[in-house]
């Protein structure tokens, strides 16, 4: 049994390839992953049962990742760590993510191994 066994991670990305990749990688590491394809579904899933960590794409239909992050930070479960996973790579994009309350920001194209390390690191710090 790994340290990640059963820890719930919510992944929101409108690109099915990215969703599947992240879900595959984290599931292999022992996490329990819930993957959704848009911002509104992410917010609904978060409200239903706040996960241990959220991975959000920035550009999604409906609510953007930044919008979802803002809602999470204004919610009753505001301390849940959030990692942004986005192709938006300019300094101003990263600044915005952190300013709204992201715990980390990974730029696409990304290394799945590095993403896993960052998820492990964030959760090790907060748990």
């Amino acid at each position: 049994m790994t340290a990640a066994e059963g820890i719930r991670v919510l992944v929101a990305d409108d690109d099915p390839d990215i969703r599947d990749l992240v879900e595959f990688k984290l599931t292999q590491a022992g996490y329990a992953v819930e993957a959704v394809g848009d911002g509104l579904s992410a917010w609904e899933a978060f409200q239903t049962e706040p996960p241990a960590l959220v991975i959000l794409d920035v550009m999604m239909p409906g609510l953007s990742g930044i919008d979802v992050l803002r809602k999470i930070r204004e919610s009753g479960a505001a301390t849940v760590p959030v990692l942004m996973l986005s192709a938006k790579s300019r300094d101003s994009d990263v600044d915005t993510g952190f300013a709204v309350g992201a715990d980390d920001y990974v730029i696409k194209p990304f290394s799945p191994r590095e993403l896993l390390h960052r998820v492990n690191g964030i959760l090790a710090r907060v748990r």
Partner: protein, 350 residues
């Protein structure tokens, strides 16, 4: 034929043309949907292998070898899926996905596919050559910047960014101002990926005949703080015939100019200058952060254009105590109050 007959005939023709157009759109959508479904069905049995390789969970190479062994119609569909995935990951997974494409012969076929009659195939080929870093294909990808299809030109632009060869900078800059233009956004992103080796190309770009090329060159000079462009940016700000180029040069100088540029920027704020240039120069003086701009900016606080007055106040507030004193000493107005409110919201003013 009577006038009424001509009218009815024309109306019938227009309706018929509309009907044909609608049928054409529906047929295209149906064809595309069916093709996508067929592709998905062909790839589905290999999806687990694809995800294992793409996520780096294939240490002994079993999944990679399984993908390499795929034959027949599924191989082409799989290659498309591999290219899609390759664009999304980096590191070892990207190398392994590229290895599968190489083993399938897709990389060897790509230069030939750049001349294929299908737009999708040409765009895909350009993308693949960039993703697999096929440096030898650089001249072919540069040629694709002139492709009749915009989709292919954009794919070639992105591929050149991935190839990271600075010699691609001059044709990329020329492409943004060509008749069959490449959009400035992707071109700017690609040029940024080429690194510091594009400094000379940016200088040349500032002297190009196309105002779009000059604008992109000015923007990137500022974004990347290419100080080698400073003298030409000053020249552009003072003399370029295109107001967008002048305003962009002002922004760039604000990011990396010298004390000497205060005078150049203040000249751009004069009332006879175009309004967008005046605003850009006033903001650039705040970015530059040189205290010698205080007197010039103070004079703008009562400008007839309230936006200029607000930008000048914001710039002064960014210059530290001497700038704040200048704002405090000026007769207050709505523009100054607005600048103060914004500075408070941003936490730079108590």
């Amino acid at each position: 034929m009577s006038a009424r007959g001509i009218l009815w005939g024309s109306t019938a023709l227009v309706l018929l043309a509309c009907l044909v157009l609608v049928l054409l759109i529906v047929a295209t959508k149906v064809t595309r949907t069916l093709r996508d479904r067929r592709t998905s069905a062909l790839v589905a049995p290999h999806r687990a292998d694809l995800l294992a390789v793409g996520s780096g969970e294939d240490e002994d190479g079993t999944h990679r070898d399984a993908l390499i062994a795929v034959e027949g119609p599924a191989r082409e569909a799989l290659d498309d899926a591999l290219v899609d995935l390759l664009a999304k990951v980096r590191g070892v997974p990207a190398e392994e996905l590229a290895a599968v494409l190489l083993a399938h012969g897709a990389v060897d076929r790509a230069p030939h596919d750049l001349k294929h009659r299908s737009t999708v195939r040409r765009a895909r080929a350009a993308h693949l050559l960039g993703l697999c870093h096929v440096g030898a294909a650089l001249p072919l990808v540069v040629d694709a910047l002139r492709d009749p299809a915009a989709e292919v030109r954009v794919a070639a632009t992105r591929a050149l960014g991935l190839l990271r060869e600075p010699s691609a900078a001059p044709p990329l800059l020329a492409a943004v101002g060509a008749d069959r233009a490449v959009p400035a956004g992707p071109a700017g992103d690609a040029l940024e990926q080429l690194g510091v080796g594009i400094a000379d190309a940016l200088r040349d770009g500032l002297l190009a005949t196309s105002p779009t090329t000059r604008t992109v060159a000015a923007y990137l000079s500022g974004e990347g703080t290419f100080t080698r462009s400073i003298d030409l940016l000053r020249l552009s700000l003072r003399t370029d015939e295109d107001p967008v180029v002048r305003a962009t040069a002002a922004v760039a100088l604000g990011r990396m100019g010298r004390t000497a540029d205060v005078a150049v920027l203040l000249e751009g704020t004069q009332t006879h200058q175009p309004i967008e240039l005046r605003r850009a120069c006033a903001a650039a003086l705040g970015d530059l952060g040189d205290p010698s701009a205080v007197d010039g900016l103070r004079a703008l606080l009562a400008d007839p254009d309230p936006r200029i007055a607000e930008i000048a106040a914001t710039s002064l507030l960014r210059l530290g105590p001497i700038g704040r004193a200048a704002v405090d000493g000026a007769p207050t107005n709505a523009s100054i109050e607005s600048a103060r409110a914004v500075a408070r919201l941003q936490g730079s003013l108590s």
